[in-house]
């Protein structure tokens, strides 16, 4: 077991990336509450809906997926899931959706409150479950639902016909949102938002790329927390600046040889899937105790869109991880494994996410063979604590550690 270096927590440095990122999240929720209080129309938004639309219009939204993750991480996932189940929802449904649908019933969850929406912005590039979830929200709350439908890419790249279809919906969504909120589209502001979003995304991707250093200057689990900003604020200057600060800190850490991973980095691995938010401490501790640092994950990169123009923007949203075929998804991950020098792959078979987990067995097998690394999976859930066994997880992680160790010894 690695010796943990325990230090007294330092007071928060307002110039640190961590402080800035935390402040952005706090401001994000505060602003949407304030907008609601002022009588502005506010929305709930899918995590990979093109944020450039409402940023340009100056409309405030918040994210049910982020809220559900926060509620689950703070221990109220099961309570909310059970409320949804008492309404008739199957416990096989995505736990984020169950938490969100339950929230519209109880309307007050101290673990993470959000104002109720006046409209919904849905995009199914991460899964079609989003459509059904948002249909039900719209029905329950009797509010308009704007959908940008991004079909699953069965080819390696999105074709021109798909780009044209999504672009038309992008323009249609702008008109709908203008009508709902009484705002007006500005091309100048749109270009500005695109510039800021690109700046944020470049900085975010550069920061996440620091895991390629050996040892990594960061604990990969940090990214799971910082990622919320990439989701909800990457069209803001504050997010761009905070990620640039993060890059600066990682650069300095590499020079100094320090890391936020508070253990000796014995093994470097890729984590596949969404975090088990209700069991974050358990899942992290089992890894840290064995000196296993997560240096690679597709999850973090999912929210870094870099593009040159509107077509590029559309192409980016058509190419998010869950929207692409097995071969493209596999090759992207193989690239990440090679870039970061990951020595093993730990797969979260996430009960909540059929699309992410549904062809993962075949894909992770191919990644393991191509990169010549061991692959181990465990059963879990992103927000329902009942779908996780700590004992199984511990055993699987131990197995992966032993496999990576054996390879190092040339066994």
């Amino acid at each position: 077991m690695a010796e943990e270096v325990r230090k007294k927590p330092a007071p928060p440095d307002p110039d640190s990336a961590r402080f800035k990122l935390g402040a952005i999240i706090e401001k994000h929720y505060r602003e949407v509450h304030e907008a609601k209080a002022r009588g502005e129309k506010i929305g709930w938004c899918a995590s990979n809906f093109p944020q450039e639309i409402f940023q340009t219009l100056g409309v405030k939204v918040c994210y049910p997926e982020n809220q559900a993750a926060a509620i689950a991480a703070r221990g109220a996932g099961q309570k909310l899931c059970e409320i949804a189940e008492s309404e008739g929802y199957s416990n096989d449904i995505c736990a984020y959706a169950r938490i969100s649908l339950a929230y519209t019933r109880v309307k007050d969850v101290p673990e993470q409150n959000m104002p109720l929406p006046d409209f919904l912005l849905c995009c199914n590039n991460i899964c079609n479950c989003m459509i059904k979830w948002y249909e039900n929200l719209a029905e329950d709350l009797d509010i308009p639902l704007i959908l940008i439908d991004i079909p699953f890419n069965t080819g390696y790249e999105p074709g021109p016909d798909q780009i044209a279809y999504v672009k038309a919906q992008f323009m249609d969504a702008i008109s709908q949102l203008e009508r709902i909120t009484g705002t007006t589209w500005s091309e100048d502001r749109f270009r500005e938002v695109m510039d800021i979003s690109n700046r944020s995304s470049r900085a975010w991707l550069e920061a996440t790329g620091y895991t390629r250093y050996k040892p990594s200057p960061l604990s990969g689990f940090d990214l799971l927390n910082h990622m919320a900003v990439a989701v909800c604020a990457r069209g803001t200057v504050e997010a761009a600046e905070a990620f640039e600060t993060l890059v600066k800190e990682y650069k300095e850490a590499v020079e100094k040889g320090t890391s936020t991973f508070r253990a000796e980095e014995k093994h470097r691995f890729m984590f596949e899937g969404i975090a088990c938010w209700p069991h974050l401490r358990t899942t992290f501790s089992a890894l840290k105790n064995r000196g296993m640092n997560m240096v690679a994950t597709i999850y973090a990169d999912a929210f870094g869109q870099v593009y040159q123009d509107l077509d590029g923007l559309i192409r980016g949203y058509c190419s998010v991880p869950n929207a692409v075929n097995l071969e493209k998804a596999r090759d992207t991950r193989i690239g990440i494994v090679r870039k970061t020098g990951a020595e093993g792959l730990l797969v979260h078979t996430n009960r909540s996410c059929k699309l992410w987990s549904g062809f993962m067995q075949e894909m992770s097998k191919q990644i393991g063979e191509s990169c010549d690394i061991p692959v181990v999976s465990f059963d879990g859930d992103q927000a329902d604590p009942r779908n996780f066994s700590a004992a199984q997880y511990e055993t699987r992680v131990q197995g992966l550690a032993e496999l990576m160790e054996a390879r190092k010894k040339g066994e």
């Binding site: 459509i131 029905e139 940008i148 549904g358």
Partner: protein, 386 residues
């Protein structure tokens, strides 16, 4: 043919898809398999293929487990299981739409699990009300047509497609008429009703249409159509219900519906009547008609339904058909159906329509819970009558 003879032919086809496949192949026909839920069947037909439905089978999953986690719907898993076991040998391609996450997953696993049978993906737009959706779908159909030609089909022909559309429209009309006729014939069992609909997936539409038209005629001629009386209670005491869901074709389940005394007067099953609700318009360019047909389809769990029109559609259907209850066959691990269940139930409750949900899947072996639930449901409905 007598009604009984027609029903026997349809039952034989429904129960033996492999025999049907071999029959088509032995006739020198090319066959393309169609996974749920919708496929451009007319296009496939017009290019010289026999489209055959592939909605999985009730079997124990073994090989498919190497590809799927347990929580993916067993319809999709059993399609791969059958593919690996060689049940589709001889077909030219498997057509899979990406209308839900499990079907998306199926497309990817199919390529690696059954590499010998080419995959054709149909990518349907969900935002079906905007013109760009029609352009996108048309472009997808053109690509499918090209692929079909590569696989040995005849080149695309507007004339051939128009003929196929005409045939399929006539078949859809006949199936709607048949469903309506069956609502007046309680002696046709749930099992027989299912066989009629299921066999449509395996037979050539030309042949199926002829039998269905014969059955409609035979049933309209006589009250009981020369069918044997059921040994259970008389038709008058049967309880009129409608069914909804993805599919409900397990013989044991259907037998329980019969034994419990239900009369299925209409359905909203994806496997059955949802296939026949919408016709392709005639008169214009046939490919556009095919596009329009899809874009006009509504009230289906795998299609974007922002106003939850399915819930009110079902309540209206129950009222129109004088049904005394709605049975929701909930396919386990089917997200779209699981989400729809809640608003559908709420709407039925609000309309005072008795509602029952029964979980089903392709791995079902114990039916005692379903029997108890159906018996209780029947009693509950009957008590309301008193």
């Amino acid at each position: 043919m007598t009604n009984q003879e027609i029903l026997s032919v349809l039952a034989e086809a429904a129960g033996n898809p492999k025999k049907q496949l071999h029959h088509h192949l032995s006739q020198g026909r090319k066959v393309v398999a169609l996974a749920p839920v919708y496929a451009p069947e007319e296009l496939i037909h017009s290019q010289g293929f026999v489209p055959m439905g592939a909605w999985g089978a009730d079997l124990e999953l073994q090989e498919a487990k190497a590809f799927f986690p347990a929580f993916i719907c067993s319809i999709t898993q059993s399609i791969v299981e059958l593919g690996i076991r060689g049940a589709y040998e001889g077909i030219h391609a498997m057509v899979i739409p990406t209308l839900c996450d499990s079907l998306k997953v199926l497309t990817q696993n199919w390529k690696h699990a059954v590499p010998s049978i080419p995959l054709i993906v149909t990518s349907y737009p969900q935002n079906r009300g905007i013109p760009a959706a029609q352009d996108y779908l048309k472009s997808g159909f053109v690509q499918i047509s090209e692929k079909l030609e590569e696989l040995g089909g005849t080149p695309f022909s507007e004339e051939a497609l128009a003929k196929s559309i005409d045939l399929y429209n006539r078949h859809r009309k006949a199936m709607r008429e048949l469903s309506s006729t069956l609502g007046k014939h309680p002696r046709i069992s749930a099992r027989q009703r299912s066989d009629i609909f299921k066999s449509a997936h395996f037979m050539r539409k030309e042949d199926h249409l002829e039998l269905v038209e014969g059955l409609i005629e035979g049933l309209s001629d006589q009250e009981s159509g020369g069918l044997p009386h059921r040994k259970e209670d008389g038709p008058a005491s049967r309880t009129r219900v409608i069914t909804t869901g993805i599919l409900a074709d397990h013989p044991r389940l259907l037998n329980i519906l019969d034994e419990t005394g239900f009369h299925l007067v209409a359905d909203d099953l994806a496997h059955e009547s949802r296939q026949y609700r919408t016709d392709a318009p005639t008169g214009g360019a046939p490919l556009d008609a095919l596009v329009e047909r899809f874009c006009k389809q509504q009230h289906c769990s795998v299609l974007f339904d922002p106003g939850k029109g399915r819930a009110s559609y079902l309540a209206d259907l129950a009222t129109r058909e004088n049904a005394r209850g709605v049975i929701y066959f909930m396919t386990k691990f089917c997200d779209p159906e699981e989400f729809d269940l809640v608003p559908v139930k709420r709407n039925c409750d609000a309309a005072g329509i008795p509602f029952l949900s029964i979980e089903v899947d392709r791995q079902m072996s114990n039916f005692s819970q379903a029997r108890t639930a159906l018996e209780t449901f029947k009693e509950m409905i009957e008590q309301r009558r008193m």
